[in-house]
C-alpha cells in the first residue's frame, strides 16, 4: 500500500468512527485504536498517538457547540480537571513502561466496559436531598435550562468523583482515548450530576485531559504526522457531520449496533494482547 492509498483508507475509516461516535455519544476514539492496529496493522504506540490527537479535535469542536447551550458546568469541569490532568500525566508515563500486549488487554477491557455502561439505565436523581457541604464550599452546585425553565441541581460525593476522574485521566493517557465512559460514570453515578450536564461537561474536559498527555506523547515520538493527519481530519469531519445529523436520526438501534461492534473489537484486542500479536 502506498502513502496515498493508506491516507485515503485511514481517512475514510476515521470519518466513519467519528460519525458513529458522535451519533451514539460513545465517542469515536474508542474504535480508532483497534481499527488502526487490527485492520491497518499500525503499531499500537503510533495508533494511540494519532487517536489522542483526534480526541482533542472532536472534544474542542463539540465543546464549542455545547458551551453556548449553557448545559456544561465550568466549575465542575475545572475542579475535576485537576484530577484528570494529573492522571493523564501518570498514564502517559506508564505507556512507555507497560508492554504493548498489556496495554492491548487493558484497552479491550475498557471497550467492553464502555459497551456495558452504554446499555444500562441511569440512576434517578436525588433532587430533594440536602446539599453536600463540600460541594457547596467548592461552588459545584448549578442549574441548567430546561423546557420548564431553569432547573437547579446539587452535587454529591465529591471525593469519590475526584478519585474516579484521576482514574479516567490515567486511562486516557495510557490508551490515547477520551475515556468519556468513565468520566460520565464519575459524574452521573457518583456525583449525581444530571445527564445533560455530565455529558457536556465531560466533553468539555476531554480536550484538556488529552492535551496533558499529548505533550509527553509528542516528545516520545508517538505522534506521526503521516498517520495523525488522516485520522484527525477524518474524525473531525465525521463528528461534525454526526452532530448535524443527530437531531434527525433515531439513534437507539444505531447505539445497539455500535455497542456490538465495540464488544467485538474489545474481544479482539484482548485476544491479540494475550496472543502477543500487538
Amino acid at each position: 500500500m502506498n502513502v496515498l492509498e493508506f491516507t485515503f483508507l485511514v481517512c475514510i475509516g476515521s470519518m466513519l468512527a467519528g460519525l458513529l461516535g458522535a451519533l451514539t455519544g460513545l465517542g469515536g476514539g474508542v474504535v480508532l485504536v483497534p481499527l488502526l492496529t487490527i485492520f491497518f496493522k499500525v503499531d499500537l504506540r503510533y495508533a494511540i498517538g494519532a487517536s489522542l490527537v483526534s480526541v482533542i479535535a472532536t472534544s474542542s469542536g463539540a465543546a464549542a457547540a455545547y458551551v453556548k447551550e449553557g448545559f456544561s458546568n465550568i466549575r465542575i469541569g475545572m475542579f475535576l480537571e485537576i484530577a484528570t490532568t494529573l492522571g493523564a500525566l501518570l498514564g502517559a508515563f506508564l505507556t512507555a513502561k507497560v508492554p504493548t500486549s498489556a496495554i492491548a488487554i487493558i484497552f479491550g477491557a475498557v471497550l467492553l466496559y464502555s459497551a456495558y455502561i452504554s446499555r444500562r439505565t441511569r440512576p434517578r436523581s436525588l433532587g430533594d436531598n440536602p446539599p453536600d457541604p463540600l460541594a457547596t464550599r467548592l461552588r459545584l452546585n448549578g442549574d441548567f435550562p430546561t423546557t420548564e425553565g431553569i432547573r437547579h441541581y446539587n452535587v454529591y460525593r465529591v471525593p469519590t468523583g475526584f478519585g474516579l476522574m484521576f482514574g479516567a485521566g490515567a486511562l486516557s493517557g495510557l490508551l490515547g482515548i477520551g475515556s468519556g465512559a468513565v468520566k460520565v460514570l464519575a459524574m452521573d453515578q457518583a456525583m449525581r450530576v444530571p445527564f445533560k450536564v455530565s455529558t457536556t461537561t465531560s466533553n468539555f474536559m476531554i480536550g484538556v485531559t488529552a492535551a496533558a498527555s499529548a505533550g509527553i506523547y509528542l516528545s516520545r515520538g508517538y505522534i506521526d504526522p503521516g498517520l495523525a493527519m488522516p485520522v484527525m481530519l477524518g474524525v473531525l469531519a465525521g463528528s461534525l457531520i454526526g452532530t448535524r445529523l443527530l437531531v434527525r436520526t433515531e439513534t437507539k438501534r444505531l447505539r445497539l449496533v455500535f455497542s456490538i461492534v465495540i464488544v467485538l473489537l474489545g474481544l479482539q484486542m484482548i485476544y491479540q494482547g494475550i496472543a502477543g500479536k500487538i
Binding site: 500500500m1 502506498n2 502513502v3 496515498l4 492509498e5 493508506f6 491516507t7 496493522k41 499500525v42 503499531d43 503510533y46 490527537v53 482533542i56 479535535a57 472534544s59 474542542s60 469542536g61 465543546a63 464549542a64 457547540a65 458551551v67 453556548k68 449553557g70 465550568i74 466549575r75 475545572m78 475542579f79 480537571e81 485537576i82 490532568t85 494529573l86 493523564a88 500525566l89 467548592l138 461552588r139 480536550g207 484538556v208 488529552a210 492535551a211 496533558a212 498527555s213 499529548a214 505533550g215 509527553i216 509528542l218 516528545s219 516520545r220 515520538g221 508517538y222 505522534i223 506521526d224 504526522p225 503521516g226 498517520l227 495523525a228 493527519m229 488522516p230 484527525m232 481530519l233 473531525l236
Partner: protein, 130 residues
C-alpha cells in the same frame, strides 16, 4: 448583582466557544496544507507503520517542529497544525484563569492555575527528561 454575574458567565462562555472553534479551525487548515505538500511529494512511497521507531528530533520538540515547518516540509507543517491543536485547550485554560479572576473567584483561579501548570509541564517540561 446576580444578574451581572450571570451576564459575565455567559459572555465568558461564548468567548471560550469562539476560542475553541478558532483553534480547531486554524489547526485543521494548517494540517490540510501540510497534507497536500506531503502527499504531493511522498504519495507514492510505501506506507509502513507496523514497526515503531519513534519520530526524528525535528518532529518531537516545539522549536524543532516550528523550524521544520517554516522550511515548508509537509510533515513539519502537519506537526505544527497538531501542535496548534494541542495548544487550543491550553489557551482555553489560560483564558479561564482571567475569567475567574474577573469574577474575583480566587479559589477557582487557584484550581485553574494548577491545571495550567500540569499542561505546561507536559508540553515543555517533558522535553527536559525525555
Amino acid at each position: 448583582m446576580k444578574n451581572s454575574q450571570e451576564w459575565t458567565d455567559q459572555r465568558f462562555e461564548e468567548l471560550i466557544a469562539n476560542l475553541l472553534r478558532t483553534g480547531v479551525g486554524l489547526s485543521a487548515t494548517v494540517v490540510l496544507i501540510g497534507a497536500i505538500i506531503y502527499l504531493a511529494r511522498h504519495g507514492f512511497s510505501p506506507a509502513n507503520y507496523r514497526v515503531f521507531h519513534g519520530e526524528p528530533d525535528e518532529l518531537k520538540s516545539t522549536h524543532g517542529i516550528v523550524r521544520y515547518a517554516f522550511q515548508r516540509h509537509g510533515r513539519g507543517l502537519i506537526q505544527l497544525g497538531l501542535l496548534l491543536l494541542i495548544a487550543t485547550p491550553v489557551a482555553r485554560v489560560t483564558f479561564s484563569v482571567f475569567g475567574f479572576a474577573r469574577e474575583r473567584d480566587w479559589m477557582y483561579v487557584g484550581f485553574t492555575l494548577i491545571v495550567l501548570v500540569v499542561l505546561l509541564y507536559s508540553l515543555f517540561g517533558s522535553f527536559l527528561i525525555a
